[in-house]
Amino acid sequence: MNHTPDAATAGNGGSFDPQQAAALLDQATQQARRRFTPGPPLLWVFRAVLVLVVFGGYWLSVRGHDPYSAPSGGLLAVIFVLVAINIGWSTWALKRAGAGVSGPAQRKRQAWLGVMLVAWIAAYAFTVPLYHASATHPVWALYPANAPLMIVCLVAAATAALRKDWPMAGPALAIAIVAAVAAFGGPAGAWLIMGIGLCTVCLGTAAFKVWQQRRSVVRP
């Protein structure tokens, strides 16, 4: 860490002029924002690549199937590895951002994470009755492509809006809209629409995070 000459011992700021103060204020604020952000921009870029590989790969694997059949085992293995990396990275980033932080906002965030976990489980738990109802392959293709993300992101958008957490509510709502549109793409096309749509949302979120972290406090 760079050490700024400390005039504290002098008690009155010494030769610390307004330009230096403005630069230091921006530097300290930007550093704090970076370190307290649970979803860093690079993680969102990784997510953009992830959704493009997962959904795009799935689309390439199942397009033109007649009758529709499941994708290759190799692709499923790649999907599981990428999703595991995403979960691991997200968990690490969340723990790192929240280390040493406590208080009402932190408790609300933890409660929100609990709600999101339940939403994820509920969205995928619905596949059990689908299995018992002997759902056809096209249904199996369409449901996991967009329904869980639509359910989870609608819950995320609603709960984030209640907390007035607009940077979270925005992307969540955008993903829910992409998922709703993708549902009209059919068993194969839904995966392509989801891949492109989610990649765009993730890259947009990464760009927003960079702007949010770098914007000046002194010069808005």
């Binding site: 403005a22 630069a23 550093q31």
Partner: protein
């Protein structure tokens, strides 16, 4: 406005970093002493001196809790401290706006390395 009118408690590099770091948290949230120390890069003794000055002015509040044998100190920026930083930032903005007119502030634009 002149530089001498800036809040002298905040207009000190280390204390400005402390206040700016705490202000990046949502209002009411606290930061542990060890994490703050890690982020500011000061020795514990030096950090305590600055925190004490800010606490005396009611800009921050600290709370010590004991978890078994370990005691944890948490520091929060008070509403008063947040307002003081807001006033300080506005004053800086005014000062730099004045410098813009002289054509000197562009070279010292915030965000560029000091």
């Amino acid at each position: 406005m002149t530089a001498s009118e800036l809040d002298p408690l905040i207009h000190v590099p280390t204390r400005l970093k402390i206040v700016a770091t705490l202000a990046a948290l949502p209002a009411g949230d606290a930061l542990s002493f060890t994490r703050l120390q890690d982020m500011i890069g000061l020795t514990p003794g030096n950090l305590i001196i600055h925190l004490r000055k800010l606490e005396d002015a009611d800009y921050i509040s600290s709370e010590k809790t004991r978890n078994g044998t370990v005691s944890i100190t948490r520091v929060t920026l008070t509403g008063h401290g947040r307002a003081a930083l807001g006033t300080y930032t506005r004053a800086l903005r005014d000062l730099l706006g004045g410098l813009d007119g002289d054509g000197t502030a562009d070279a010292a634009r915030p965000g560029r390395p000091i």
